[in-house]
């Protein structure tokens, strides 16, 4: 690719990042270049308006939520390690790593099925209380549905969704219930991006 294609020297803590996220050197370099591209003011970190400059994200119905997921609570900027750590969720699952046979010391990899599901869950659960309330579900539904859907229809859809998934009858969907409702879905495939090199 470019002149700095294979050199991860410019990237601080490259080795640790690669270790932690599982990205290869080539991936990391490419992501770094993209990070630099987004970082218009060369600050070394991304701010909200840098994200918003990506117009496709603006036209994404849940664009705000996706952007919000990059910012850790309390922080206004995203540095490169945070950027990469979030993107690591979307790496295709490594098939050679067994999901169950881990010793307890190893942390859950960022791109495991559970982590991916957790990411999706957090798109709903903005207040981080571990549950998706009816209101939170409604909000996301509203974002994703066209305007002509009436309020009653929205309410019934949300109602039905909660009924289906809510096993402990607390009128909200916990993470485990969320996981259970999606057990038949191929999350590894659906929530993966084939990162280019």
């Amino acid at each position: 690719m470019g002149s700095s294609s294979s050199s991860t020297e410019r990237i601080p803590d490259a080795q640790e990042l690669m270790q932690e996220t599982g990205f290869s050197a080539a991936h990391l370099v490419r992501l770094y270049e993209r990070f630099e591209f987004l970082d218009k003011d060369d600050r070394g970190e991304l701010r909200l308006d840098d994200f918003e400059a990506v117009s496709e994200l603006a036209m994404n119905p849940i664009g705000d939520r996706i952007i919000g997921a990059f910012f850790s609570p309390g922080r206004e900027t995203v540095d490169f390690p945070s950027f990469v750590r979030i993107l690591a969720h979307f790496r295709p699952t490594d098939t050679n790593r067994t999901r169950n046979g881990r010793n307890g010391a190893q942390p859950e990899p960022a791109n495991s099925r559970t982590s991916k599901l957790k990411f999706a869950f957090q798109l709903y659960d903005q207040d981080r209380d571990g549950k998706v309330s009816r209101e939170e579900l409604l909000q996301v539904l509203r974002m994703m549905l066209e305007m002509q859907v009436t309020e009653e229809q929205l309410q019934s859809i949300a109602e039905r969704a909660i009924q289906e998934a809510d096993l402990d009858r607390d009128d909200a969907i916990s993470f485990d219930e969320f996981k259970k409702s999606l057990e038949k879905v191929d999350i590894e495939h659906k929530m993966s991006v084939r990162f280019l090199e």
């Binding site: 690719m1 490419r30 992501l31 993209r34 591209f37 218009k40 003011d41 909200l48 308006d49 918003e52 400059a53 117009s55 496709e56 603006a58 036209m59 994404n60 119905p61 849940i62 705000d64 996706i66 952007i67 609570p73 309390g74 922080r75 206004e76 900027t77 798109l123 903005q126 207040d127 209380d129 309330s133 209101e135 579900l137 996301v140 539904l141 509203r142 974002m143 994703m144 549905l145 066209e146 305007m147 002509q148 859907v149 009436t150 309020e151 229809q153 859809i157 039905r160 969704a161 289906e164 998934a165 409702s181 999606l182 879905v185 659906k190 929530m191 991006v193 084939r194 990162f195 280019l196």
Partner: protein, 752 residues
């Protein structure tokens, strides 16, 4: 019509005094007839849309041809000649450019370039495959004595084949839209249509040249290939050149806004003509000119010029296409036909077979290179959607007369066009729906799964977009750097090193901001008002609702029909007969604004609900401010945050949209939005902004109050103050915001 001049003359002879009434038809004959034909064709177009169902089942081209057939029959029966308009010159110089300009101007560039490999593959190789295949097989058929067409040699067959291999699948794009075909397919079909016009014309010229040569040597084949490249690349080169010149010119047109659209048309037409001068591909020239121009010109010209350009391009394209199909119908009746059952039927057969084979083989080869391979349904759509259209028709008429069997070729071309347009055009929709129904297993899975899956798809699309994954990143990035550094400096007036993406986004948001205030309150958001939400929270002890199977089916229906599709924007461009419809993207943007406003809600609500969506202070607010500053005229300049004085403007009663925004300006800044969860600080300043609303109330006209009332209906009153935090208000109170999205936006104009 033409006899009247005689009457006029006779009248003149009789009266030696001053004639009171004269008629001079020959003087106006030509423009008059042209206008009448255009009007007639347009009436036909209006007529179709009267009964909406027709246009769903029958493509417009069918209808136009039918009307043309009827008119042709009428003319034939009164022994009237059709207007001699279908000469080569008239078609290629006057009727074709608008159509091609239309296609080129509204090409969605980003998806197009991302799929350019596939598009070129299908357009170039596919057309070649079709031409050569059909030509060869027809030549083989000609050898059979029974059909009596032995005098057609290989070159002529190839020439004929090149004419009929140009597919015009745009007619079926509407069908594709409705039956939910792979998004990629749109672009490929769209691009193929465009490029294979160019390829066909090149092939046609090549073959017609070759047809006149008695002997074909290997050198000539090689030269043919070379010529192909010269023609194609040369066309593109001229197009790009003219595109840049046009962009450069519009840099200086800020004082002469009225004639800005003219430049677009003149330059693209010039590109076309100059390419014709050198016998290189004029279609490629005009298309590349339009593509290049559009990007820069739309940043330079005013909003109105932009709209004018779009409308006029669409109008000219539509009128040309209408006329062509109309004449096709007329001419079918009125020309002399030479019918040869064998030849024509085999032509139809081979055209069909070779297209199908071609699509199959080509897809197999290119699928591994595509991120989203084409499945069988897509391939069927691609193959079956290969209707022939205007280009074939025109080329057939311009065959040189020294080809012995010209009439046969013309008849065969018309036959194939009519066959494909009518039969395939009408039957493709039911067929695709049939396949669709069979292939999608409509398992009534859970609602949950459907919602979550769509959420995940949007997430992935968003991440991909964020990573710039959606294209061949390297070249695009290189080009963008070059673009920003050099090209934009030269070609764009007041250019900043700012991504044009941002400018586009801002323009859209600007229009939305205006529209939000213009629309009736009910449209603004489907969300309930705060009050009802509040109540809903209270009624936690609602009895569980029972859902019947019918309810579930309805829900699935609602979800599948109404959930936004991924990357909506491509679909917006693919209806050829309409201006790009970005109403859904607008809807999304409007929704985001509404949700932002809604989320800046009073603290009292917050306390009963667990901390919810952090309000998103958004750059849209600065746009509202910029809106205050500018004229309607110079809206495009708003994209650049150049004018940000806080001078209050005099009330402009002409533009309702401006009024409430002006009012917002007078409000003091809301307390720092970080304190949303913090009731106390919020309620303190609650009163203050409200007072301001009331005070400035008196100053304004009644119309504004209506708007304000609308606002009130849409949102709780308490929201008004908070939603208006001006952008350049003081810095956030404390640096420790809980979430960056909570802070107010600070727009930093990029100083580079």
């Amino acid at each position: 019509m033409r006899g009247n001049s005689g009457v006029g003359a006779a009248l003149l002879d009789k009266l030696s005094n001053l004639p009171v009434f004269t008629m001079n038809y020959p003087r106006i004959q030509i423009p008059f007839e042209i206008t009448l034909w255009m009007l007639l064709a347009s009436f036909a177009k209006i007529g179709f849309h009267v009964y909406h169902k027709i246009t769903i089942w029958v493509p417009e081209s069918c209808l136009l041809i039918s009307i043309g057939l009827i008119v042709g029959a009428i003319m034939h029966s009164v022994h009237e000649e059709p207007p001699a308009v279908l000469t080569s010159n008239v078609f290629f110089l006057y009727m074709l450019p608008p159509i091609v300009l239309d296609s080129g101007y509204f090409m969605p560039t980003r998806p197009f370039f991302e799929n350019i490999g596939t598009v070129l593959w299908f357009a170039v190789v596919g057309t070649l495959w079709n031409s050569v295949g059909i030509g060869m097989s027809l030549f083989a058929i000609c050898q059979i004595e029974a059909f009596g067409v032995q005098d057609i040699n290989l070159q002529e067959n190839l020439l004929f084949a090149s004419i009929i291999s140009a597919v015009d699948p745009v007619a079926v794009l509407n069908v594709f839209e409705d039956v939910n075909v792979n998004e990629q397919l749109y672009i490929v079909v769209f691009g193929e249509c465009l490029f294979n016009d160019a390829v066909t014309v090149v092939l046609y010229n090549m073959f017609s040249f070759v047809a006149e040569m008695p002997v074909v040597e290997p050198v000539d084949v090689f030269l043919g290939v070379a010529r192909f490249f010269v023609v194609g690349l040369g066309g593109m080169g001229f197009g790009i050149l003219f595109g840049f010149v046009a962009a450069f010119t519009t840099r200086f047109t800020s004082k002469v806004r009225e004639i800005e659209p003219l430049f677009i048309f003149m330059y693209s037409y010039l590109a076309y003509l100059v390419a014709e001068l050198f016998s290189i591909s004029s279609i490629m020239a005009i298309v590349t000119c339009a593509l290049t121009m559009k990007y820069y010109v739309e940043e330079n010209v005013s909003q109105r010029s932009c709209t004018t350009i779009r409308h006029v391009v669409k109008m000219l394209g539509a009128i040309s296409e209408t006329l062509i199909f109309f004449f096709l119908g007329v001419v079918t009746i009125t020309t002399e036909h030479e019918w040869n059952w064998g030849y024509i039927l085999f032509t139809l057969l081979f055209a069909f077979v070779w297209r199908g084979l071609g699509v199959l083989v080509l897809t197999q080869i290119i699928n591994p290179f595509r991120t989203i391979p084409f499945n069988l349904k897509d391939q069927f759509g691609l193959a079956y959607g290969g209707l022939r259209g205007a280009i074939s028709f025109a080329l057939a008429f311009t065959l040189p007369d020294n080809i012995g069997r010209k009439q046969l070729f013309v008849t065969a071309t018309i036959a194939i066009i009519l066959f494909t347009v009518f039969l395939q055009g009408i039957s493709i929709r039911p067929l695709i729906e049939f396949i669709n129904v069979r292939r999608t297993n409509r398992n009534l899975g859970t609602i949950n799964v459907e919602i979550h899956c769509r959420l995940m798809e949007h997430t992935i699309a968003g991440i991909e977009d964020l990573c710039g994954q959606w294209s061949h990143f390297y070249w695009k990035d290189k080009f963008m750097k070059f673009n920003n550094r050099i090209l934009r400096r030269i070609l764009i007036r007041d250019s900043r090193a700012e991504s044009s993406i941002v400018a586009l986004y801002k323009k859209l948001e600007l229009q939305n901001a205006m529209e939000i205030l213009d629309t009736v309150s009910g449209d603004i958001s489907a969300a309930p008002s705060i009050v009802s939400l509040y109540e809903e929270k209270k009624s936690s002890a609602k009895p569980k609702k029972k859902f019947l199977a019918a309810d579930l089916r309805n829900m699935h229906d609602i979800l599948s029909k109404n959930m936004y599709k991924i990357r909506q924007r491509t679909v917006a461009y693919t209806n050829k007969h309409a201006l790009p419809n970005d109403s859904q993207t607008k809807e999304i943007l409007i929704r985001r604004h509404a949700s932002i406003r809604r989320s800046l809600r009073p603290g009292s609500f917050q306390s009963t609900v667990s901390r919810k969506t952090p309000p998103k202070a958004h750059s849209v607010w600065f746009l509202h401010e910029s809106l205050l500053e500018d004229d309607h005229e110079t809206l495009s300049e708003v994209a650049y945050p150049t004018r940000r004085s806080r001078s209050s403007r005099p009330a402009r009663s002409s533009s309702r949209a401006m009024m409430p925004l002006r009012r917002l300006d007078t409000l003091t800044e809301a307390p720092s939005v970080d304190a949303v969860g913090d009731d106390s600080s919020y309620s303190d300043s609650h009163a203050a902004p409200r007072r301001h609303i009331n005070s400035s109330d008196d100053q304004d006209s009644g119309s504004v109050d209506n708007l304000r009332n609308n606002h009130h209906e849409a949102q709780e009153e308490e929201e008004q103050p908070s939603s208006s935090s001006p952008v350049w208000a003081a810095e956030p109170r404390d640096g420790t915001t809980r979430n960056p999205l909570l802070r107010r936006p600070q727009w930093n104009p990029k100083k580079k």
